[in-house]
């Protein structure tokens, strides 16, 4: 058993509190076409929770009231949410930067071509899951055939102008480890992915981010079943880096779930640890005071290990 995260913070005389909130993250639902083994929200084809248009309107009003620099739409697979285009269009004028997360696979289908056109028109940055340049490793995490489709979609995104040097259309990649091991240092991984993707498939991208897998949801169960849980938690806890606390993304981000409830981050959403400890709907929030304590549990070690999750 690792030391409780809160106790580790106390041991370092650290408090984890909200700073200035500049990012609005919206998890529009648990429905996904994939069921990735590292998924912390347990998203998959069997889930039905998606954000409805009324809640989207509430979120848009909230963005108008609180003014964020950035909005980040995630899921599940956001593409499967019926009114996603409405959310994108209404949020775009309210933020400097709008991000749409994608698993790449759905966008390959013709029916999503209008969504892609809209993203391009609005200058929406696309952030795509791409765990490995190795097909077997990627497919073992995400499902058979996903890697091949991802390569095809990345090629297509480049062809329409995403991810090219100097382009206003950002194409960012997210690489989570394909198992119970720590992520590669971001700068090293970015350099290698850039070289490998360009050399083998002619693919270009803007930036690559590496994040540790968070021990929640389906990933937690996989850790248990595979006998990796204890060792993985020990590695995360042993890697606790007090210098990461100040820059943790939960200090500057607010996360809204498909039903409009507020959380300090997407991981706390999966762990059902709401913002301020009580379930608060987005319609009842006027501001996000600095100094508000961030809810924590042992999954937070994933964001404080090594270079951290900022």
């Amino acid at each position: 058993m690792v030391m409780k995260f809160q106790k580790t913070l106390s041991g370092h005389q650290l408090l984890l509190q909200r700073g200035d909130t500049n990012t609005l993250q919206i998890n529009v639902g648990r429905l996904c076409n994939l069921a990735c083994r590292h998924c912390h929200v347990d998203a998959g084809p069997g889930r039905s929770e998606v954000m409805d248009r009324t809640t989207m309107s509430d979120v848009i009003d909230f963005a108008g009231r609180c003014r964020f620099q950035m909005a980040d739409i995630t899921g599940g697979a956001p593409e499967l949410v019926p009114d996603l285009a409405y959310l994108l269009q209404e949020l775009r004028p309210l933020v400097d930067k709008l991000i749409l997360r994608t698993n790449l696979v759905l966008l390959l289908q013709n029916r999503y071509a209008p969504l892609l056109d809209l993203c391009k028109e609005l200058g929406v940055a696309i952030t795509a899951s791409f765990p490995s340049t190795n097909a077997n490793q990627a497919d073992s995490q995400r499902g058979e055939g996903v890697w091949q489709d991802s390569i095809a979609m990345l090629n297509h995104l480049n062809a329409i102008g995403y991810g090219l040097p100097g382009s206003r259309l950002e194409l960012n990649l997210v690489a989570n480890p394909t198992g119970a091991f720590m992520p590669v240092a971001q700068c090293q991984a970015e350099k290698k992915f850039r070289t490998d993707l360009a050399r083998k498939w002619g693919i270009q991208f803007t930036n690559l981010f590496t994040f540790a897998n968070v021990p929640l949801g389906r990933f937690y169960r996989w850790l248990e079943q595979s006998g990796n849980l204890t060792h993985y938690m020990d590695r995360l806890a042993a890697g606790f880096n007090p210098a990461t606390i100040n820059g943790l993304m939960c200090r500057s981000l607010i996360s809204i779930s498909w039903d409009g409830t507020l959380y300090d981050c997407d991981f706390n959403q999966a762990a059902d640890l709401p913002y301020t400890g009580e379930k608060i709907h987005v319609t009842s929030v006027a501001d996000l005071p600095t100094g508000t304590p961030i809810a924590t549990d042992d999954h937070c070690y994933a964001c404080t290990a090594g270079a951290g999750f900022t």
Binding site: S132, T133, N134, N136, Q137, P177, G179, F181, M182, P183, V184, A185, Q188, A189, K192
Partner: protein
């Protein structure tokens, strides 16, 4: 079950310094220098270590450098190729000694 190799023993490696601590310190300092980024990247050094680990057939080293390779950004295809390099050198080292066999045969044969 009792075995000669126990994965948890790897964590006890540092205890080798209880006796002859000066030599242990010199070794571990040297070891850290060897694996630090230099003309070769840490990733490349971990791949070499993985190949050597297979050549010397050290289970501790295979365990440690498999993780290290993954965490330094190598993928499994690259790691498998590194193991083949070790295999080729080991196999080649055996086979090339066949020349000695042929030399001896030539010397003693009519």
């Amino acid at each position: 079950m009792e075995t000669y190799y126990n994965p948890t023993d790897l964590e006890k490696f540092g205890e080798i310094g209880k006796e002859a601590p000066e030599m242990a310190k010199k070794f571990f300092d040297y070891y850290a220098s060897v694996f630090a980024e230099g003309e070769l990247t840490e990733r490349e050094k971990a791949l070499i270590a993985l190949a050597v680990a297979h050549a010397v057939q050290c289970p501790y080293c295979i365990d440690a450098y498999t993780s290290s390779c993954l965490e330094k950004g190598s993928n499994q295809a690259e790691m498998t190729e590194a193991v083949h390099v070790a295999c080729a050198i080991r196999g080649g080292a055996s086979l090339v000694h066949g020349v000695q066999m042929m030399n001896t045969c030539k010397k003693v044969s009519m």
